[in-house]
């Protein structure tokens, strides 16, 4: 076999090889793109990257594990505050601080995940909603440590010296956030393609059947939650690095709802869909601002416009398009490959 055929075969059979290929591709695109685009766009790229990190975790949780969470905004806050405290107060370096953010948020995610694993549907949504509203209140309870309403600030991350003294800050931030996103992509791709992902989906589809096959339902779901919490923690930490700030105002309930919109639009369970969602969350505020300027809309209107659009998207998606963009794309691809079979529905009850 030639090297090419061998490589092809390896890519076909090995998830690890495929994911490494994606990683390399993404890294290359990141390096080239961040050089070509403007500083402002680099900042957008960084923003999109950390949105992707949390959306990827959330979409895997919702789509593959069947659990909805409205609390991921609060989990991002945990990651952000961890990074802000470690870098700002304790002088930690960047990478250890981010790693710590992942670990701390995952640890917070464990009890939440255990509780969540026992809840279904609206109960789970309501509980995570209460979590999203309740947790940020802690910032007011411990103002000296957590900086109260103003939050904590940190110094911008300095690019390492070997990159040269004129290496732009925004580009470095894009690299950091991009690296985080790529790590999340790699981890989730492997998890969801492997046995872990199959366990998640088995439990999602039929808990009783799954437990009869020996899968521990509760721990499987709790683990899915913890993994998504870890992603949210990383995203929050990256947010703190990019914005150099961690404050309660950055993590309102609306954030969790915009994250939900991102995964719904992209299609629950789809990593590519998370990319669409990240694009939406990053670009929409800019687009609405431009729209507001061209139509001379007041700030009152333009400030609320992204949220109004998210609301419409969520409603329309549920009524018209429940599987999101990626679902729509998949359906289109299926229909192009072969003619659609006639719908087969299950007979109800006895005849």
């Amino acid at each position: 076999m030639t090297a090419v055929t061998r490589a092809r075969a390896m890519l076909h059979h090995s998830t690890l090889a495929r994911s490494l290929a994606w990683v390399v591709l993404a890294a290359v695109v990141l390096v080239i793109a961040s050089d070509v685009i403007s500083s402002y766009d680099d900042l957008q790229l960084a923003t999109g990257a950390f949105y992707f990190a949390v959306l990827a975790g959330l979409t895997v949780l919702a789509g593959q594990s069947g659990q909805i969470s409205l609390g991921h905004g609060a989990l991002m806050a945990v990651g952000a505050y961890t990074v802000a405290l470690l870098i700002g107060n304790e002088g930690w370096a960047l990478v250890p601080a981010l790693a710590a953010a992942v670990v701390v948020t995952a640890l917070v995610g464990v009890p939440v995940g255990v509780a969540a694993s026992r809840l279904r549907g609206p109960y789970l949504a309501g509980a995570t909603l209460a979590f999203a509203v309740g947790l940020p209140a802690l910032a007011d309870k411990f103002p000296s440590l957590l900086g109260g309403e103003n939050g904590l600030t940190i110094n911008p991350p300095t690019p390492p010296s070997f990159l040269g003294s004129s290496f732009p800050l925004e580009r470095w931030e894009a690299w950091i956030a991009g690296a985080g996103a790529i790590i999340v992509l790699f981890a989730l791709y492997n998890l969801s393609s492997g046995g872990v992902g199959r366990a998640w989906r088995a439990v999602r589809d039929d808990e009783i059947a799954a437990s009869l096959c020996g899968l521990a339902v509760g721990p499987t779901q709790a683990m899915a939650f913890t993994v998504s919490a870890a992603c949210a923690g990383l995203a929050g930490g990256l947010l703190a690095v990019v914005l150099q700030l961690a404050q309660p105002g950055a993590f309102p309930l609306q954030l969790s709802l915009s994250l939900l919109t991102g995964v719904v639009l992209g299609g629950l369970g789809s990593l590519v869909g998370a990319l669409w969602g990240a694009l939406l969350l990053t670009m929409l505020p800019n687009w609405t601002n431009d729209l507001a300027h061209s139509f001379s809309l007041s700030t009152q209107v333009s400030a609320n416009l992204p949220l109004a659009i998210y609301g419409v998207v969520l409603i329309a998606a549920m009524i018209l398009w429940p599987s999101g963009i990626q679902g729509g794309v998949r359906a289109l691809i299926r229909r192009l490959r072969r003619p659609a079979p006639a719908g087969v529905s299950q007979p109800t009850g006895s005849t």
Binding site: A115, G121, A127, A308
Partner: protein, 292 residues
């Protein structure tokens, strides 16, 4: 001692508001098996409408009545247009849809009326009663709040137990297919259920607006407390909603009073999780306990 009495009385008053929201959530859950996460935003809109009426006509009571009427219409319209398509879909779809409606309503309110909270008048005096020389924090307005919520709850109870409409609504909620076979127009009953629930919500909105001020996000904590109260009492039980609301009001009042108001949302979360872990059907489980 006075502090304890004050906290208890104010707990009863806020509890009445939670009870009204919980009642709204329970009515909708019983009819269509959906938790209406947009309830808080819906009652926010009806309260803004009341505010507009009050400001233009100077009459509180006209605004009050219009708020309730607007709630009735709003609930019916939302069910007919938005909820009907997802009633038969997996529960997750309805959850996401009501959250989307919440998001849209809050944003729309911000666009129309701005994000700065404004004041809202109370129905009655806000000066506390004087008992034995001490001025309590409990006011005539609080008395009104408690009484009217209890009256509405009793009225709804009477509607369900003693009228044909109520019988049809219960049948539609318990056994929709059998009800259809008996000539009950089940989808119409669902619409009525949502409309009545929205009235209960609208009532809660005008009652609580004087203390939380009127802004697009002012009622978020109320929705969450209403949900916790409904779960506490049992999502299937209207009397449970009322009792759950009162109990929660007391609990959060004590927490706020002794530990600080910032901890109240966290306390609500703790109570919610405790109930869901220990007794998922709530205190007044009707029939079989649902596995949450």
């Amino acid at each position: 001692m006075t502090k304890f009495v004050d906290l208890t009385l104010s707990g009863v008053s806020t509890g009445a508001v939670y009870a009204a929201v919980a009642l709204a959530l329970v009515l909708i859950w019983r009819a269509t098996r959906i938790v209406n996460f947009a309830q808080g935003a819906m009652l926010m809109i009806t309260t803004f409408i009341a505010s507009a009426i009050i400001n233009s006509t100077g009459s509180y009571w006209l605004g009050f009545v219009v708020a309730l009427a607007a709630g009735l219409v709003f609930g019916a319209v939302v069910e007919r247009l938005l909820i009907r398509p997802v009633e038969a879909a997996p529960p997750l779809n309805a959850v996401i849809l009501t959250l989307g409606l919440y998001t849209l309503l809050v944003a729309a309110a911000g666009m129309i009326w701005g994000n700065t909270p404004r004041s809202f008048p109370a129905a009655f005096s806000l000066r506390g009663y004087v008992v034995g020389g001490t001025r309590l924090l409990f006011t005539p307005n609080d008395t009104f709040t408690v009484l009217i919520v209890l009256a509405v709850a009793a009225g709804l109870g009477l509607l369900f137990r003693a009228t044909s409409l109520g019988l049809q609504m219960r049948a539609a909620a318990f056994a929709p297919e059998v009800a259809r076979l008996l000539g009950v127009r089940v989808s119409r009953m669902f619409t009525v259920g949502w409309a009545l629930a929205a009235v209960a919500g609208a009532l809660a909105g005008v009652l609580v607006a004087p203390s939380v001020f009127l802004g697009p996000n002012s009622f978020d904590p109320i929705l969450i407390s209403g949900f916790v109260a409904a779960v506490l009492g049992g999502l299937d039980s209207p009397p449970g909603a009322v009792i759950g609301g009162l109990l929660l009001g007391l609990a959060l009042s004590y927490v706020s009073g002794y530990e600080g108001a910032a901890l109240a949302p966290l306390a609500a979360l703790v109570i919610l999780v405790a109930v869901l872990m220990l007794r998922p059907g709530g205190l007044f489980t009707a029939g079989t306990e649902r596995r949450v």
